[in-house]
Structures are given as structure tokens and as C-alpha cells.
Symmetry: C2
Subunit: 327 residues, 2 copies
């Protein structure tokens, strides 16, 4: 069997995760990493590294390019650009800009006869899929998404930008009593503050005004002001030892009713508990890279989201095998 | 907007659930119930009732026929038969015979230019979908399915056939310590006895030998012998009052690892807690009836399982709306 050849664009935590996830499959192989950095300076887990400037020389040499840049500045331009010449998969996660991104990728991918799958990962991604299934099966009901417990990179960065802060890690924590109320079928209206806590571990410079830092964090608009936030000052060694991982996860719930007058209650719950957010996101990207390859082989082109892809396309097994073994 | 017109074949708990689920949607309506019984004797929640013998007179008058018979004797013949003339959806759940059933429905549906979606519900159905996603995203790992706590109709029937038993209700109960071990990432090898308990509520005839009944239940091959089973004798009134519902549910878990040497652990969990097994199964059938209508409108024919259907097709919302609102 010819293995599906995967190119990786960008080699941060996510790119490394994609390399390892591809290695973990039976039917795919890494073609190489493409980087903006000097190739010799990029230390992979074994994959060849090429300069991104050379990528067009490899057109037709691999099957799918997995884009591992960020949603703020990289993907809005990269995904349409590379979709002109390659099948691509990205993890674009700026929810509000998804329609615009989808349209841009759709045009570019169609012009090149390629497939572009966007917004893959767990949210957007598997969580979106579960929101769709929940509200489609139980039309009368309420959907809830909780994130965590996990590290929010954006919130950690926001703390690091405060004067006097050396390093920081912020955990988003779902509030147990809110989850319990949803699970009990109470369909609560939950404010932002009632759904999640924010817990911060901060390393301050020697002599820094900790009370001032704590106040700056807790009152920071958008990031912390709407939440109950706790701040713990710790030393750098403790931060590295106890908060070095990038765990995450969360819950998607649909609480709905059926019957003549909605008298019958049902609860659908999907949850993730991830020791590494980027490694798991990478594993989802790789499963959908398999789908991109198959859709393209089947003559399709344009943009796709997780909603547009038949689940069988992400499995290494054949449809016959899937029906026999796990249906 | 023209609503999708749904025919319902068979009017037991499931057929009634389909009628109510369709009523719960914004874009579908019940065309009528088709029954083997005398139409005047079938009391619906409002739907018209026709004799099944007349169904061909209604060819082209409705969009999808939802088959609400049983998997043992009804569906193996009904689904292929009606797929010749109608788009159909069934909840065929004899896992071992799914490949054969799929092939039969595929032939019949293709010959009539129709769409036949089989094995829809929660297991097979939403549980299958989650098994597929779990093993595709985390190729290195173990999958687990637990059922319950819920009423098993088959096991309740088996108890009722014992001499001296007036009525009975059997609950399948997942064993908490087994679930906890899976959630802890221990990837245990679980025997049948280690995964589920069986709890029985039995009404015995006056003067019946209860010890003998209990022994017959606990040693019954296939049904109970491989499980730890508890038997409670109660009176008929208590059975009706406390065990009149048909709740069910369960858990699908994927415990897997990523990283250079599988050092990073992840857990994916999907669970259902259903107050009424047939009403929920009906709700899933109706969402996939929407997909059958759309696939047929798109020129497709043949058999489909949940694995073959892009999730967007089950939602009343447009792809644009889905991307904007819940991706």
C-alpha cells in the first residue's frame, strides 16, 4: 500500500505533534517539514526539513500539507495561499472569522483543484461536531460548552506582558456546580463568571509589587475582569516543575427533551481530558488530513469543515471493515 | 419552505417516538403512519393511519419512510423491500448481521434510485460514530463501550418466560470501578463480568418458589450466567410505579496516547443518559431521515450508515449557518 505523504508547515508544538501523530498511523508518512527558519536549525523528531521558499518545487510530491501556524496572523493568509497548490488542513480557531476564512480557502482551493479543510482540532473541531449532533438530535434543548481544566496560552501571555512578571501560567477551570446543574437537566442560564474560574500561577521579579500585579491581572478587561480569578505567586523552579505541561480538555453537553409536552429528558455529554493540547490537536489534524487526501482522490475540491466530511473518511479502515468491526 | 414529509412504518414505542420527534422539528412533518393493524385501531398522537397494504399508492407523496419494526424479524425483510420504492431509515441493531443487511439494502435501494440509511440510533448509531472518531484520532489506544444504567428489553423478556414469573424488569448497570479504571488511563482488560452488573426486579406468582426462580435467572446461559446478577422480588404495583419507564444510556471511551514513546495520555468520553430509550432512538432516526431526504435530492442512492453521512446533513440549519453559529 502506498502511504499518504504528509507535509508539515511550521514546526512549533503543533508541527512537532503532527510529525509524531503521523508516525503513529499505519497508513501515512511524513514527507517533510517546511519552515521559515534556516532548515539546519530546526530539530525535528526525524523528519527532513526544507525551506518554505522551496515548497513549490515539491508540488505533486506529497499528498496533504498540514498548516501548523497560528490563527492570528499565519493561517488567514497561509491557508488560502497554499490551497492553490496543495491539499491543506488547518486548525484555524478564531470562531468569529470562520465564515470569511472558509470563503477565502474555498476560492483558492477550487482555483487549484485542491481540498482545504479548515478549523480542525477539538474546538473548533470535535466539540463543534458534538454541538451539531446534540442540537440536531434534540432540537428542544440547550447546548453548553465548558473548557478546561487547561492552560490558556492567550491568558498566560497576557499576564506575562504585565510589568514585573517573569513568567506565568493560567488555567481555565470549569465550575463544578455549573456542570452539575446542566447534568441535572436544569438548563441553567449561566453568566461568564458562573461557568469558568481562572487560576493563575505567576513568577514575579525580585522586589516587584505583587499586590499591584495581582490587581492588574484581576481587573484586565476581556481576559480576567468577568471571571473569578485567583493568583498564586510561585518561584520559577516550581513553575517549571509543576506547570510545565500544556494540558487541556472540556465538555460539550446537550440537555434536551422529547415526548408530547417535553416531559422526557435526555443528556448527551462529550468530554476530553488531554495531557497535551497541541499533541491531541495534531492527532485530529492528521485524521482529517487522511480525509483531505481521499476527498481529493474522489475528485472533490474547495473548502470543507468537520461538518462536511463523512466520518468514514477519517479512519484508516475501509468502510466494510468499519461496518463489520465497530458499527 | 416545503417541509420534509415523513412516513412511519409500525406504531409501537419507537413509531410513537418518531411521530413526536418529527413534531419537535422545524422543517419536517408527519405524512402518516402505516400499520399492519386495522388503521382505526391504531391510536396515534394525531397522525393519520393507513394500512401497510396501501403504501404503494402513496409512492412519491412523502419523502422518507422511517421503519420502526424489530431487528429480529421485521427489518431484515422490510428495509430492502421498502427501499425499492422509498427513501428509508432503520434502526437495525443486530451487530453481527449488519454487513449482510447493508448489502441487501444497498442492492434494493440502488435498484429503486433511493437512499437507505441503516443501523441508526445510539448503539449502533451515535456510539458507533464515537468509536470511529476515538480510534481514528487516537490510533494507539483502547476503546470501551459500557451500557446503562438502563432497561434491557431482551433480558426482561427472558425473565418473564420463567415459570412462576408474572412480570419483570432487568437493568444493565455499568460497574463504576471499571469505568474509573478506564478514565484513569489504566487501559484494563475487562471480562464480561467486570464491565456490567445485571439487576432484576421480579413479580412472582402467589406461592411460586422464589429461590428456584432466582436460581433459574442467575444461571441462564448467555443472558445472566456470565454476570453478577441480583434479583429483587417486588409486587406488581411497585413494579409499575417504580419501574415503568424505559431509561437507558451508556458510555463510549477512548483512552489513547501520543508523543515520541506514547508518553502523553488522552481520554475521549461520550455518554448518554436517556429517560426513554425509544424516544431518543426515534430522535436520532428523524435527524437521519433529514439526511436521507437531502442525499436523495442530491442524486445519491444505495445504502448508507452513520459513517457515510456528512454531519451537516442531519441539521435543520444550512452549512453557512452552522459554520457561523456552532463551528
Amino acid at each position: 500500500m502506498n502511504k499518504i505523504k504528509v507535509g508539515i508547515l511550521g514546526y512549533g508544538n503543533l508541527g512537532r505533534g503532527v510529525e509524531l501523530a503521523v508516525r503513529n498511523t499505519s497508513d501515512m508518512e511524513v514527507f517533510g517539514v517546511f519552515s521559515r527558519r534556516e532548515p539546519a536549525s530546526v530539530k525535528t523528531c526525524g523528519a527532513s526539513v526544507f525551506s518554505i521558499d522551496e515548497i513549490l518545487n515539491f508540488k505533486g510530491k506529497f499528498d496533504v500539507l498540514v498548516l501548523c501556524g497560528g490563527s492570528a496572523t499565519d493561517l488567514p493568509t497561509q491557508t488560502p495561499e497554499f490551497a492553490k497548490n496543495f491539499n491543506v488542513v488547518d486548525s484555524f480557531d478564531t470562531h468569529a472569522k470562520i465564515p470569511e476564512h472558509f470563503a477565502n480557502v474555498d476560492n483558492a482551493a477550487k482555483s487549484g483543484g485542491n481540498v482545504g479543510i479548515i478549523a480542525i482540532g477539538w474546538d473548533p473541531g470535535l466539540f463543534s461536531l458534538n454541538r451539531l449532533v446534540g442540537e440536531s438530535v434534540l432540537e428542544s434543548g440547550e447546548s453548553y460548552t465548558f473548557w478546561g481544566k487547561g492552560v490558556s496560552q492567550g491568558h498566560s501571555d497576557a499576564i506575562r506582558r504585565i510589568k514585573g512578571v517573569v513568567d506565568a501560567r493560567q488555567y481555565t477551570v470549569p465550575i463544578e456546580s455549573a456542570l452539575a446543574s446542566v447534568r441535572a437537566g436544569e438548563n441553567p442560564n449561566l453568566s461568564t463568571r458562573e461557568k469558568h474560574l481562572r487560576e493563575c500561577f505567576v513568577v514575579a521579579e525580585d522586589g516587584a509589587d505583587k499586590a499591584k500585579i495581582e490587581n492588574e491581572i484581576k481587573t484586565m478587561p476581556n481576559y480576567f475582569a468577568d471571571y473569578d480569578t485567583t493568583v498564586h505567586f510561585i518561584d520559577l523552579e516550581t513553575l517549571k516543575r509543576e506547570h510545565g505541561g500544556i494540558p487541556h480538555g472540556g465538555f460539550v453537553l446537550r440537555s434536551g427533551s422529547t415526548g408530547e409536552r417535553g416531559e422526557t429528558k435526555h443528556l448527551i455529554e462529550f468530554s476530553l481530558k488531554l495531557d497535551s493540547n497541541p499533541e491531541f490537536t495534531a492527532s485530529v489534524l492528521v485524521a482529517y488530513a487522511r480525509a483531505a487526501y481521499r476527498l481529493h482522490k474522489d475528485g472533490k475540491s474547495g473548502a470543507f469543515s468537520i461538518f462536511d466530511i463523512a466520518p468514514a473518511l477519517i479512519s484508516p479502515k475501509s468502510p466494510e471493515q468499519l461496518r463489520k468491526e465497530i458499527l
